[in-house]
């Protein structure tokens, strides 16, 4: 748990620390990606590592996503622990076949003879008018594929703790970083710590309704919760942190207490993570619900460029607040 005297660092610094610590700890950790060498990555994610790790371990690749993702997978089968940095999740689509057919299936197909201890890192989410090719979430597409672990942190502390756990995972992890975290300063404890995969975080305790929120929606939900508390409505806010495996137990326990559930997901509504979470709650805790589960999702449209339209397509703190009021009414 974090305390008031924790230092404040940015999301990017948290990622840098996680990489530095894990690369020091395990010489098998290498990073593949465009511009992640001497320049420190397009978001600064490998800044400061060059002097220590050099070109043997920070592999600056050409713009050949399919090839260097596949190489990372092969390297993981041959004993390394690659971190494959794809910059934006959109660019992972050019390597999607490698991820789905190779990384995800190698352990299964080989009957457990091989496995792929690797991390696919990519930035996600609507942020600062990047337009339709740089604003997607897309984790639902990968949640569908057995064999992949899908991690979506919502704070600098979790970026660090979860990235470290992901690097140590023996299964392939998609580590998806919401761009809104990169330059924001947040409390992160000094020193090494791990955040376990598959464990949700109860970010705020409440009694009147449960919110399960993903990525930037956690920040929005906490803002809405603060405002709702002024009206005497106490919501519990849960961040699953890893979508696969999903910590159903924490969610179900919360719903058993509050009897109302709102799930908030920036990803497009159809088949998104919120749909999966809602289904699991219906399967496990239907009898506890006093009201239908409500979902707030990214619109079923691509993320447009112009600021007013861009804001329109994702849930906002105001919409969350309004929805909770209706849910508890």
């Amino acid at each position: 748990m974090f305390t008031d005297n924790d230092r404040q660092i940015t999301g990017i610094q948290a990622i840098q620390e996680a990489l530095a610590e894990e690369m020091r700890r395990d010489p098998n950790v290498v990073v593949f990606g465009e511009g992640i060498g001497e320049r420190g990555g397009c978001f600064g994610q490998t800044k400061g590592l060059w002097n220590e790790c050099g070109p043997e371990r920070l592999i600056d690749t050409p713009i050949s996503e399919l090839a260097f993702t596949g190489m990372g997978i092969g390297a993981s089968m041959a004993g390394l622990r690659p971190v494959i940095d794809l910059m934006y999740i959109e660019f992972m689509m050019d390597a999607a076949g490698q991820v789905v057919h190779q990384a995800a299936k190698v352990r299964y197909m080989s009957g457990g003879q091989f496995h792929c201890p690797l991390v696919l890192v990519a930035a996600i989410g609507r942020y600062n008018n990047a337009g339709p090719h740089h604003s997607g979430c897309y984790y639902p597409m990968f949640m569908h594929v057995p064999g992949l672990i899908v991690v979506v942190p919502s704070s600098a502390r979790d970026l660090k703790g979860l990235l470290k756990s992901s690097i140590r995972s023996d299964d392939p992890v998609l580590f998806l970083e919401h761009k809104s975290l990169f330059s924001k300063k947040m409390a992160v404890p000094e020193g090494e710590f791990l955040t376990p995969l598959g464990q949700a975080n109860v970010c705020r305790v409440g009694t009147d309704a449960s919110i399960v929120a993903i990525g930037q929606m956690v920040e929005y939900s906490l803002a809405a919760a603060t405002s709702l508390a002024k009206n005497g409505i106490e919501v519990e806010v849960i961040d699953p942190r890893t979508l696969v495996p999903l910590d159903e137990e924490t969610v179900v326990r919360s719903v058993q207490k509050t009897r109302r559930l709102l799930v908030i997901d920036e990803a497009h509504e159809t088949c998104n993570a919120a749909a999966e979470i809602a289904t699991r709650v219906i399967e496990k805790a239907f009898d506890y619900l006093d009201a239908p589960i409500v979902r707030l999702s990214g619109a079923k449209v691509h993320v447009p460029y112009a600021p007013p339209m861009e804001q329109f397509v994702a849930p906002s703190p105001e919409r969350i607040e309004q929805t909770v009021k209706e849910l508890v009414a």
Partner: protein
């Protein structure tokens, strides 16, 4: 490579090589390049100021490529562009006001402000989009070329792509398929030596990109991409090959961006030296073309060129005013155009 720098070539040599154009054409080239330059200088300023949202990749220093190539095209030809595409869009005759308004995210933008700099489309100009995905447009151009040949409509397709894009599977796969299928396609590589911060030389064994075309059996040539006349003359040959005989070409244009990868990135000092940038600024395609035209036609043309600069500046200023005052789409309009 037996390629000469534009500056080294004498006028006689240029004429002999079939590069030199007549005076009207020369003025057109100059005007087109000046419009792109002034457009982007203004756009960059409004990005810094924050009135253009999002980010842009400026083409400053590379204008001769778009202008030289597009000068060889017919109105019906298809073009796919890149993330650095303002020059391609303007050179294809897209309205400057509409392109500027798209950058501002406004309703009057080429595509209603829903795309921005990296997603500029204009069906009326057969402009199949700037593109946020490196090499994303290359297969699309091949597809347009296929449709053209299938329907026997006689146009050609052109795809612009960066040096970095030539290492992407989409480029390499399309190169082969275009050659194998004899598509009426010209792939234009803008070799500005870097893909963001990564020097081409650091991630590619051979620096001769044209060899990739040769390897798949495609006509391939390398030109000085800062010499609009040389680009144009070579593009004309490639265009003729595509239009007349349905044979694809790879045209590699050696050039340089004298600005950062995106507006806001330091121009030099991180992965490029100031000396290198300064040396390329000496080869600026617009400044040098102006000098050359004055040498060629005498001082009288200088006045005309100055007037062109001034008019381009005015056109940009009015595009900015137009864009600033244009309305945004209503937020709910974000839901339109997902399906037909």
């Amino acid at each position: 490579m037996k390629r000469k720098k534009a500056q080294d070539k004498t006028r006689g040599e240029r004429a002999e090589a079939g590069c030199e154009v007549d005076e009207d054409r020369a003025l057109d080239f100059y005007r087109s390049m000046a419009r792109v330059r002034k457009f982007e200088e203004a756009a960059a300023q409004y990005v810094r100021e924050g009135s253009i949202p999002g980010f842009i990749h400026a083409y400053i220093g590379e204008e001769a490529v778009a202008v030289g190539v597009c000068g060889a095209l017919e109105p019906g030809d298809y073009v796919t562009s890149t993330h650095r595409g303002h020059g391609h869009a303007l050179s294809r005759g897209l309205s400057m006001k509409s392109v500027m308004a798209e950058l501002w995210g406004k309703r009057d933008g080429t595509n209603l402000g829903r795309g921005g700099s990296m997603h500029i489309f204009d069906a009326s100009r057969h402009f199949l989009g700037t593109n946020g995905i490196v090499a994303g447009g290359v297969p699309l151009a091949a597809g347009a070329a296929f449709a053209i040949r299938y329907k026997k409509t006689g146009q050609i397709a052109v795809s612009f792509v960066g040096d970095g894009g030539t290492n992407h599977g989409a480029f390499l796969e399309t190169l082969n398929i275009a050659a194998a299928f004899d598509l009426p396609l010209v792939i234009v590589v803008e070799n500005n030596l870097y893909a963001t911060s990564t020097p081409y030389a650091c991630v590619t064994k051979t620096q001769d990109i044209a060899l990739r075309g040769t390897a798949v059996g495609m006509a391939a040539e390398t030109v000085d991409g800062n010499d609009v006349e040389e680009v144009h003359a070579t593009a004309r040959k490639a265009v003729a090959r595509a239009r007349g005989g349905s044979r694809p070409s790879l045209l590699v244009c050696q050039t340089y961006r004298t600005v950062g990868h995106y507006e806001g990135e330091p121009v030099a000092g991180t992965y490029r030296t100031w000396e290198e940038v300064e040396a390329w600024k000496q080869k600026d395609p617009i400044i040098n073309y102006k000098k050359r035209l004055i040498e060629r036609y005498g001082a009288t043309i200088a006045e005309q060129l100055d007037r062109i600069d001034e008019e381009a500046g005015q056109e940009v200023a009015s595009a900015v005013e137009f864009s600033r005052n244009a309305p945004f789409c209503a937020p709910v309009e974000a839901t339109e155009h997902v399906y037909g």
